[in-house]
């Protein structure tokens, strides 16, 4: 059992429960969240069970986003623990406290489960709404999302965004696990057919509906524009093309912005189930500038580190991305992602790092082909 004792007084959650449009101070948020998650009356069974093994007392020792590096990376355990154990006990008795349970990609072993609380979804949507306003996303237009629903958080997030600021939300579902399975098994032709199947469904919507916002992945966007007719439809009608879910190399991004869609807005989104959120491309970047993402700090913070030492790399250097999520709803600290990125200074006064030119960890060349003259 835990050695933690209740706080002398159950803290008023003025920080954790503050207005959805208020961004708390970094230290205030993190200290309040530690008190919440490691108080036997309010913390989740999952974290209270871990408390003994940490070797430090989060309520005493964790104050800033940098301090979160002291936590072990627990995300692999999310494949196996009962997901209900992730819900902080402090939500007990509240109706509609849980928004839903969602999975990670699930391509490497069993998927990781996370619980999405309703208050977090509200906070995230208010923030996203502001970000979209800042980037001139139109209001009250129809959207088309080529995005995964089902176990994946992103489908629900798009649906809520459309409800908040759009009109009709058209969707074409996709199952990224199946695609990745096909590719891993060397069945590229099946992955190809599947992509064609998605594009055909997207075509039907684009041809008949007036779509103002298109949500898609970079590979699907590339396939859409291979067809000159679809390219023209998107270029003429769609105001914002938001891409995410897979990386987009800087050369392709430049071509898309300058040659393919010079008059449309292209906005990148970098998300992870393990932060219960996503980061949107910094506004106002030139086509040739690196694609920078600022996180929803202090709730979500990034660090870019040398994976060997765990130390931050210098600004402008490449390293692995470490992600943290700290809110009333969840604590998911110090998760070393598989992505690489360039470390960029966060906007003034914001904790953590911003990340640029995110890409999967580089594969080191082809396996050497030895036999043969070619």
């Amino acid at each position: 059992m835990t050695t933690l004792r209740p706080n002398a007084t159950l803290h008023p959650n003025s920080i954790l429960d503050g207005p959805a449009d208020h961004i708390p101070d970094e230290t205030d948020l993190i200290e309040a969240a530690m008190r919440w998650h490691f108080d036997p009356r309010t913390g989740s069974r999952f974290w209270l069970d871990q408390a003994d093994t940490l070797g430090f007392d989060p309520r005493e020792d964790i104050h800033t986003a940098d301090d979160l590096a002291r936590f072990p990376n627990i995300v692999d355990r999310l494949r196996y623990v009962p997901a209900g154990d992730l819900i902080p006990r402090g939500y007990a008795g509240q109706d509609d406290a849980v928004y839903g349970v969602y999975d990670s990609g699930g391509t490497t072993g069993p998927p990781k489960h996370v619980v999405f609380m309703t208050d977090w979804m509200e906070r995230l949507l208010v923030h996203t709404d502001q970000e979209m306003d800042e980037r001139d996303y139109p209001r009250r237009v129809d959207w088309l999302a080529l995005a995964p629903s089902g176990p994946h958080m992103f489908g629900a997030f798009v649906r809520e965004s459309v409800r908040r600021r759009g009109r009709l939300g058209f969707t074409v579902d996709l199952d990224p696990r199946w695609v990745k399975k096909c590719i891993a098994a060397g069945r590229a032709d099946q992955a190809d057919q599947y992509a064609d199947h998605i594009v055909a469904q997207a075509r039907a919507v684009l041809e008949s509906q007036d779509i103002g916002v298109l949500i898609t992945t970079p590979p699907l966007l590339e396939r859409l524009v291979r067809d000159e007719e679809l390219h023209r439809l998107i270029a003429d009608r769609v105001q914002v093309i938001e891409w995410g879910g897979a990386h987009l190399d800087p050369d392709t991004r430049y071509l898309l912005r300058t040659e393919v869609f010079p008059h449309n807005r292209l906005v990148g989104r970098y998300g992870s189930t393990m932060i219960l959120a996503s980061a949107i491309e910094r506004d106002g970047l030139a086509p040739d500038a690196p694609c920078v993402y600022d996180s929803f700090s202090p709730y979500v913070t990034f660090r870019v580190v040398d994976p060997e030492t765990g130390e931050p790399v210098p600004y402008g250097s490449r390293g692995r991305v470490v992600m943290n999520h700290v809110s009333k709803a969840a604590l998911l600290p110090n998760n070393l992602e598989r992505d690489e990125a360039t470390r960029v200074e966060a906007p003034p006064g914001r904790p953590g790092d911003s990340v640029a030119d995110v890409a999967p960890v580089a594969m080191f060349g082809d396996s050497p082909v030895i036999e043969g003259v070619y």
């Binding site: 071509l255 082909v369 036999e371």
Partner: protein, 457 residues
Amino acid sequence: MTAELIEFDALGPSGPYRSRHRLPITDLAGVPLAALSLVPSLYVHRAIAALRAAEPLPAADRLAALARAGEAFATETIGGLSVDAYVHAVSRISGMPIQIVRHATETTRRALLDAGRDARQARPVASVDDWHDPATRGGRAVWTRRGEVFAVHASGNHPGVHALWPQALALGYRVAVRPSRREPLTAHRLITALRAAGFGPDQIAYLPTDHTVADEIISAADLSMVYGGDDVVAKYGADPTVLVQGPGRSKILLAGEDWHQHLDTLVDSIGDEGGTACVNATAVFTDTDPDGLAAALAERLATIPTLPPEDDRAALPCQPTKQAAALERFLLDHAAGTTPRLGGAGITDPVAGGGVALRPAVFQVDRADAAQTGIELGFPCVWVAPWSPADGIGPLRNSLVLTALTHDERLLDQLVDDPTIRNVYVGDHPTYWMRPDVPHDGYLGEFLMRTKTVLRD
């Protein structure tokens, strides 16, 4: 010290394109000499769409432009590189002996000059080139393209590979070349020359990519030609839109012939072109005295000197040290159980300026069907095998070239009939013998063209 790198830009529909993603091209010592712009798949698809949308030049203009480009390729300064600077850079980067690069430059010049004539060798005699030909009144076969865009995954083993695909331009195809990352210079020089000579950016493209994008070029083009080993054959062999230039595994058979009379031809077949070509002999089969033959080949091949590739007397290919060590290990592992006659203790020999020469190797196997006789490596490396009529032609199959030193007419019938033997040279002819008007692995035109009937009033 950092010398100025040569930039090899992609050559796409709107001209040279310098990507952010650039591959350093290093010489044998690992010194970066150039940077190669690798294009993403979006660029590939847009470039190929532009090629497809373009009209070919008129036939006469194509041939004139090819001839001009060949002349410029072999004699002029292109992209800041003189001919001498170009051949020197190729030899330092690819390790190919400089004289072979010079010779390939001249071969390519002539191939471009004659590309129209050579391409037309494949035209069925009953057909005409153009539907306007009076013969189509009353009905006639017309030789027509099977597609519009032809893609080439070039190989980097020998600069001479670029002498073949220009025939597709002669036939009116628009062509996209993905160069080898091992030697991207020759294709860049040639395509720059073709553009200057009149093939516009919508006629010919230079599209370097990393391996993840390579397939996109093939899927986007109508027809493709791909060089590679067994893996490439397995991947594309069943695709009717892909012409695979697979392993050469060229061989020599001596049946009822005294090898002493043919030693020069044998040695040249193994070692000419530095042993890097698909037409170099990989195995020699003899029905008399394999021991003596193996010893004689070893003695002759051992006299080839180790020299850096830019030396005019160099005849052996060189490679970066690490890459060569892997090749050496592969050879020695696979030679287990055979009798080494040359190179049994290793084949690498350091050269001045960095890297190592790949020295000749001669291994003797004890049966005609030994698996090693199919191991083709990019330097003078030969497997000597015994053969008797009882072995049949089985061990001789799967050959790009088979030189048959025999008078056995029945055996020759079988060899010429065998579909896996692509060329048969009867008598004292080296396996590397080539002439552009005879097929190398079939005529390229057999793949690129078809006939259709045109009947008009």
